[in-house]
């Protein structure tokens, strides 16, 4: 048993760095590896289990690798009402020949759905990595995928 003096006193401001620390770690490898989580835990003096529980609670942290471009289609009500949500998802599923949650064999695209992106005035909306795409249609998706592919020929 630890004596009182040995018990680590948490600096509250240090713990507050956790969300940011996870973002930084994720940026380095594209997702949070087990090693990255352990490293963040060690740096902030927290148990790795606690850091992992954070990574799994917040949806913007990825604990599994994704493609170069993560296509996230908003499945919100306002997107659905104007022809988005699963209509766009279905289009992308067929076009990329993958299911939601999967990555194309070339490692370029991962298809996901997300909750309301707060772009209901310009829906249907989707996000690709850090960029937001509004008023989406099948044609615009074709164009977008072509542009993104163009960067990797």
């Amino acid at each position: 048993m630890a004596k009182q003096g040995e018990i680590q006193v948490m600096d509250p401001a240090r713990r507050a760095m956790l969300l940011t620390a996870l973002y930084i770690a994720q940026e380095q490898q594209g997702h949070l590896t087990r090693e990255a989580i352990e490293r963040v835990a060690a740096r902030l003096g927290l148990p790795a289990s606690e850091v992992y529980s954070m990574a799994s609670f917040y949806t913007l942290y990825r604990t599994k690798p994704g493609g170069r471009y993560v296509l996230q289609v908003c499945e919100g009500l306002s997107c659905h009402l104007v022809g988005g949500a699963e209509r766009l998802v279905d289009y992308l599923r067929k076009k990329l020949a993958i299911e939601v949650g999967q990555t194309t064999p070339d490692g370029l695209f991962t298809l996901e759905t997300v909750q309301c992106l707060a772009t209901c005035g310009t829906s249907p909306a989707m996000r690709v990595n850090d960029a937001l795409y509004e008023d989406m249609t099948a044609e615009k998706i074709d164009e977008l995928l072509e542009t993104l592919r163009g960067y990797h020929v």
Binding site: P12, R15, A16, M17, L18, L19, T20, L22, Y23, S53, M54, F57, Y58, T59, L60, Y61, E75, G76, L77, S78, H80, L81, V82, A85, V114, Q115, C116, L117, A118, T119, C120, G121, T122, S123, R127, D130, A131, L132
Partner: protein, 422 residues
């Protein structure tokens, strides 16, 4: 004639910059406050204006400020809630992206009123542009002496920084937001104690939505009386209404509280988009009970909407025409709540999942007799017994859907398909 208040500069080029804000009357309320007002007088001013929180609950802002302890030796914090996530809502994103200094000026004034010297912006992790705009705006405000030590030569100092959330709807709830700021999972705290007594790191904390804060400089500039004559006697001031769904012009419209739902839809949003009649409206974001075409004369203010059995919420108006299946609407929204339930309270965690399962099977044409009763029972078991309002909110689309469109649920069960969308 109503003149725009919060959105008045949004049409200007580079409206997000400090120069445009300054050139259009920005940062004039702050020196006035520091020179002419004691914190107590400021609280009286905001109380007299009648300003109520714009994040959903509509709590009087002045009262919230007055709950903060007056003892100057107590460390206090202010949190700026930019965690906009209520489905249908996109006003806070606009405010931050297009006029962030208006909010900053409000934050500084609110902090002065409650005696806080440290404030935090908590922004939804997905708002990439918003994060950039916030950081740039705060940097510029520091550079001009509106933030930092001895603001504009006064004795008042304030630091403000931006913290990015990481994708959790629940962090818009003020105690979950505080937990998240502390670097924890965004699980709401039990209340009381309220944040005004025990908040961030155990200190008294004032949490405000950005739209609420954006009103503050205008109240200082033009007075409480001017503000209170906008809107209705109990719901004062301008409100940003976000209109989406089956209307011609979707978007954010700034209108006085108390405007009729009909005026918002017909005059500002240009009426119905696809030539089909209106079927239902969600008046204040996904968590608020629906209204029907017969209720379009309802006034959009806190009291009138409460009388109509619903809520103003965030002012997110989702308009649905007759092609909309109400079981499908409930299914979609329940999926959202099941995904976003933080999992802390069992009734919400399990209830949203169970309701989601039932609604999914109704949509698939596998509904069973008794499913409607099961939904009702689950809703009853979730309401009023969770730490935060998510549990109650999640039941609203189903409960109000069952009240208004029960026949559609019955049809789904009896005919194994939808009567609306074939």
């Amino acid at each position: 004639m109503f003149e725009q208040v919060l959105t008045r500069n949004m049409g200007l080029p580079r409206s997000e910059t400090i120069d445009v804000y300054l050139a259009n009357g920005g940062y004039q309320a702050l020196p006035k406050v520091l020179r002419e007002y004691t914190p107590e007088q400021l609280i009286q001013l905001v109380t007299a204006s009648g300003l109520r929180g714009r994040g959903g609950a509509g709590f009087p802002a002045g009262r919230k400020w007055s709950f903060m302890p007056k003892d100057p030796s107590v460390v206090k914090y202010v949190c700026v809630n930019t965690d906009e996530g209520e489905p249908g809502t996109f006003k806070d994103r606009e405010l931050v992206e297009k006029d962030p200094h208006q909010i900053i000026e409000g934050v500084i004034i609110a902090s002065y009123a409650v005696g806080a010297h440290r404030a935090f912006v908590y922004i939804r992790g997905e708002f990439f542009l918003g994060v950039k705009r916030w950081i740039k705006a705060i940097d510029d405000a520091y550079a001009r002496g509106f933030l930092g030590k001895n603001i504009l030569g006064s004795a008042f100092s304030l630091d403000l920084s931006v913290h990015r959330g990481a994708g959790a709807y629940i962090c818009g709830e003020e105690t979950a937001l505080i937990e998240s700021l502390e670097g924890k999972r965004g699980e709401p705290r039990k209340k009381p104690p309220f944040p005004a007594s025990v908040g961030l790191w155990g200190q008294p904390t004032l949490v405000h939505n950005v739209e609420t804060l954006a009103n503050i400089p205008h109240i200082v500039n033009h007075g409480a009386e001017w503000y209170a004559q906008i809107g209705t006697p109990k719901s004062t001031g301008p409100k940003l209404f976000c209109v989406s769904g089956h209307v011609r012009n979707r978007g954010v419209f700034e209108l006085p509280l108390g405007v009729s739902l009909r005026e918002i839809i017909d005059e500002h949003a240009g009426g119905m988009a696809f030539g089909r009649p209106l079927k239902a409206v969600i008046p204040g974001g996904a968590s608020t009970p629906m209204l029907t075409a017969q209720q379009l004369d309802t006034r959009m203010d806190f009291e009138s909407l409460q009388d109509a059995g619903t809520m103003l919420g965030t002012g997110a108006v989702i308009v649905m025409d007759e092609s909309t299946c109400m079981v499908d609407v409930a299914r979609r929204l329940m999926r959202f709540y099941a995904h976003e339930s933080c999992g802390h309270c069992v009734p919400c965690r399990v209830g949203t999942r169970r309701m989601s399962d039932i609604l999914e099977r109704l949509e698939r044409g596998q509904g069973r007799p008794g499913d409607v009763e099961r939904l009702e029972q689950l809703a009853l078991g979730m309401r009023g017994i969770t730490f935060c309002p998510l549990g109650d909110a999640a039941t609203n689309p189903v409960v109000s859907g069952l009240k208004l469109f029960r026949d559609e649920y019955d049809y789904h069960i009896a005919h194994k398909r939808c009567a609306v969308t074939v």
